[in-house]
């Protein structure tokens, strides 16, 4: 049985959020407020807290079970089966959204003439390979990439500080709480609830009972990083952050060191690609695990390729253009995720708690 450590889980979760968070989140937040954008980023903790709560209930009621297994066990083959399929669809749509964001980013940032679906196919090939090798490998790749990130990110950060202007944050709290809350919706309910995908990894965790705490730690780390990122972005780019697609990319584009370094944005884009592949792999793992649970097979390898193919196709089928992705994230995802990632697991937990049948141990033993 492959098992992954807490450190690996936390890293995977951090990248699950920051993978696209680093790409678009400062811009999404700045849609509602610019001066107070840095106050919107910590709302990620709210979502992380909710996810941790769900995880807390889950690991106590269904020890050793994935979310899809738990739903089926608690609600029976018909309702449970339907809800498990619903979860599969949720994971598929989420992966497709991320995939589309990624290929759109790559075509905008470095390969303008290449067809988006080719870019996506290459990325999904890489993702499928990693997922095929298993969750342990994904966790280790996260660990391996971490030191590189720790070296590169601070350098970019410090280089960009030269253009930092504190005036972009004044006046503080000028427009009241409403815009801050609105700017916090997407971090809280779209990104913060993505932590729930970790419930699909429960059987592979070395210490499943610490999962809620791990989610909280990951949420704290990623909201800290995100806040720093938002502060830097708003401080450097200023008001224009409101109309930018990839504000952090713009920060990196501003970096210039005499005649030696004139552009670094491609380097940044490549870093983001690596992180996005990890994010896609993490969610894809959950998707494949869900498919495995739905079919009741012994491993999930068979699902890796068809799921990757379906996600690849879906990412171009579901969204007409990048505006479609943005609109989806802004206006549908918070509600969708809230229902799917919070209410649905809570529903199955409640059902399990009400029925109080001693299936807990047998289910854990059987599945």
């Amino acid at each position: 049985m492959t098992q992954i450590s807490r450190y690996q889980v936390i890293l995977m979760l951090v990248w699950v959020v920051l993978g696209t968070g680093i790409l678009t989140m400062p811009g999404t937040i700045a849609q509602f407020t610019v001066h107070d954008a840095w106050l919107g980023a910590p709302f990620l903790l709210l979502g992380g807290g909710l996810s941790a709560g769900v995880a807390w209930v889950h690991v106590r009621l269904f020890p050793g079970l994935t979310l899809t297994q738990a739903v089926r066990a608690a609600l029976g083959p018909w309702i449970g089966g339907f809800l498990a399929a619903w979860l599969c669809l949720w994971l598929l749509i989420t992966t497709a959204t991320v995939g589309r964001e990624m290929s759109a980013f790559v075509t905008v940032a470095t390969l303008p003439n290449t067809a988006e679906y080719v870019v996506g196919a290459a990325a999904f090939a890489c993702v499928a390979y990693l997922v095929h090798l298993g969750i342990e490998v994904v966790g280790r790749v996260n660990e391996f990439i971490m030191p590189l990130v720790l070296v590169i990110v601070p350098i970019l950060f410090v280089l960009a500080l030269r253009w930092f202007d504190i005036a972009a944050f004044q006046p503080v709290w000028a427009e009241g709480f409403t815009p801050i809350w609105r700017s916090g919706i997407v971090p809280a309910f779209a990104y913060g609830l993505e932590f729930v995908v970790a419930l699909q990894w429960v059987p592979a965790l070395r210490t499943p009972r610490t999962l809620p705490l791990d989610i909280l730690i990951a949420a704290a780390v990623s909201s800290l990083i995100l806040t720093v990122l938002v502060v830097e972005t708003v401080g450097v780019v200023g008001w224009p952050v409101k109309y930018m697609n990839y504000p952090v990319l713009e920060v990196v584009r501003a970096i210039r060191l005499g005649k030696l370094i004139e552009r670094l944005d491609t380097v940044y884009a490549m870093g983001v690609v690596a992180i996005l592949v990890l994010k896609l792999s993490a969610i894809h793992l959950s998707l494949c695990r869900a498919l495995q649970d739905v079919c009741g097979t012994q491993d999930a390898r068979w699902a890796v390729l068809p799921a990757a193919f379906a996600v690849w196709a879906a990412s171009y089928f579901l969204f007409r253009n990048t505006a479609g992705v943005t609109a989806f994230i802004l206006s549908v995802v918070p509600g969708y995720f809230l229902v799917t990632a919070i209410f649905l697991p809570l529903l199955s937990s409640a059902a399990a708690w009400l029925r109080r049948k001693p299936w807990r141990r047998t289910a854990a033993g059987r599945l």
């Binding site: 699902a303 390729l305 068809p306 969708y336």
Partner: protein, 79 residues
Amino acid sequence: MNGVVGMGLALLCGVLQWRFLLRAKEPGAKTARLVWCVLMGAGMVAAFVAGRQDFPSLRPLGWLETVFAPLTRWLYEVG
């Protein structure tokens, strides 16, 4: 072109999982094979449709929007 690439990739997946498709005997293999075919088929259709420029503007996620957009709007308003 999208569809052609999709076909190629589907073929590739089929080649790679040849063995699984033909003679997997583990429990659940039948359902798994069905799911495999559904995912592949849906993927192929989606790839073809996505590649057609002249296709009327589809909104495959419209139903999600109808269901969840009000909830999201409420979230925005509650502050």
